[in-house]
Symmetry: C2
Subunit: 311 residues, 2 copies
């Protein structure tokens, strides 16, 4: 199916006749006739009843029309998403269903008229390069790994500390606990597959291990959260960490437990990064929204690596 054909269909439906639609599209009436005929052949139904003074939609045509309009709208947005200059605000998040995604959903609810594109880049290096080249406008990251400071033209503000929770299966030794302290976790195996060395995630968990003597196994590729949850549910010896705001597709019948961690509560810091000179108007709106939405909270009793930007 060709979008020019769909456009022709909508024009003809609006005009009520092929002639006028043809004039609007700057083609001949015969071209419109052939396009509509081809569309009808493809779909296998008649879309118009031809009369002596125009063409009226059949019922099938009436049913098809809103879908055709929607198709053109979506195509419009698709093209706009890569239009150089005045494209939608492009924001990089760590993962879908992460706390940053939640913040972006909140922003979208508050400003539904602002066009957004959310994507997930590989690591902070890529994100910073993309910010500097203008390929993206903002990035939610844990800011900097020790020894690699941010370039001077990248600005940053801490927007959210996400408490980590322990996730266990029902047979795990800590499964019955209402909450656990970090000290209690020593000796338990914590499994975080898919953590790529050198990324901000790796630096975070390295520091967590160094600080509290935990056993974190970052081995193995990430087969997706489904596989991770399956394993955690079935393996009494394994637990994993998970952001408190992380929305999971909760598997049924697995009886997984989310257990708060205290003394201190490890928090994963989310910062917003952007380029100093980025002129995108929606970027200012996003920064203002985040400043308002993420009110300062009490950092007492929480832990974050000392290399993160202070709030």
């Amino acid at each position: 199916m060709d979008l020019d054909t769909v456009r022709t269909f909508v024009a003809a439906a609006d005009a009520g006749q092929f002639q006028e639609a043809a004039a609007e599209l700057a083609v001949t009436q015969q071209a419109v006739s052939k396009r509509i005929a081809a569309l009808e052949r493809d779909l296998g139904v008649r879309l118009f009843t031809r009369t002596a003074r125009g063409a009226r939609l059949t019922i099938d045509g009436q049913a098809f029309l809103p879908h055709a309009r929607e198709l053109l709208r979506v195509a419009e947005r698709a093209v706009a998403s890569v239009r150089p200059g005045r494209r939608p605000l492009r924001v990089d998040v760590l993962a879908s269903r992460s706390a940053a995604s939640g913040l972006m959903r909140g922003f979208h609810r508050a400003y539904p008229e602002i066009e957004l594109d959310v994507l997930m880049l590989f690591d902070i290096e890529t994100a910073v390069a993309a910010l500097r080249s203008g390929a993206i406008d903002a990035s939610f990251r844990a800011v900097a790994v020790p020894g690699r400071p941010l370039p001077e033209d990248i600005e940053t503000v801490r927007v959210l500390d996400e408490p980590l929770q322990l996730l266990t299966g029902p047979a795990h030794a800590l499964a019955g606990a209402r909450s656990v302290t970090v000290a209690q976790l020593a000796g338990h195996r914590i499994w975080m597959p898919g953590i790529v060395p050198g990324t901000e995630w790796a630096a975070y968990y390295d520091d967590l291990v160094a600080e509290f003597g935990l056993t974190i196994e970052a081995t193995g590729p990430n087969f997706g959260s489904d596989a991770l949850l399956d394993t955690i549910a079935d393996t009494p010896a394994l637990a994993t960490f998970m952001g408190e705001h992380m929305r999971l597709v909760w598997p049924v019948g697995h009886d997984l437990r989310r257990i708060p961690v205290t003394d201190p509560t490890p928090v994963y810091p989310h910062s917003l990064l952007w380029h100093r000179d980025n002129p995108h108007p929606a970027l200012a709106a996003l920064r203002a929204h985040l400043a308002a939405a993420t009110a300062a909270h009490d950092a007492a009793g929480t832990w974050a690596p000392d290399w993160v930007t202070p709030r």
Copy 2:
């Protein structure tokens, strides 16, 4: 833009290389290469970075990808909307923003997985013909005009009585009333443009006039609800009727008044019509939902023409 091209883009993005995408689409690698190149030329951006062992999405490509997927989803639904056999449930309503539309929105919320197409046919004759031919599956109507009984193969059930309210501008004589009785309306001009003679609407208002001696002017074409509201707002001598559940695009600064009508309250009856032998599985779900959602209410103190189906 051609949807085959978009499909090719998505396949290549998923596969990570043109070769495999080509195999999947049953074309040559060169064809994929040319399609992607054409898409990049149309959009004016590079979508892939070509490497020796495949093609990876650029950031523009990553931004474009979800839009491309959405485009294919919408196209899929568009085609499905006219697929003979197993197409979405097609329901005819009197008008968008009518009470029937509200019922359909409720049904959609309750059963989001059921595919729906809502359309607005011209009159009940058309609707009945469409029901009998199978072109639509259900219709919300006021059922039958006196002297023209429904065919035997069309079944019907009364689902909703919508109270009528008076709509006036601020300078109208009744503008200050909290409610008005039907008797009070005698002598006031009520304007209902766009009522087509012979339709169920016309029959309804004819009966209302005959019963209570109102002055209803059905003259003039319908220039849309905006024009109607403009006129009502500015003309002290005119008022109009409007369904209580009708959601209007309320014009700002017009200070329109909605005034309940009592003694009795004229109600506009909405019935669901369907063909006795229609096998569409979603039709049963719709009927069950409507039976549950539209609990019987008190008909005392209301008026409807005596030719409507009793509840």
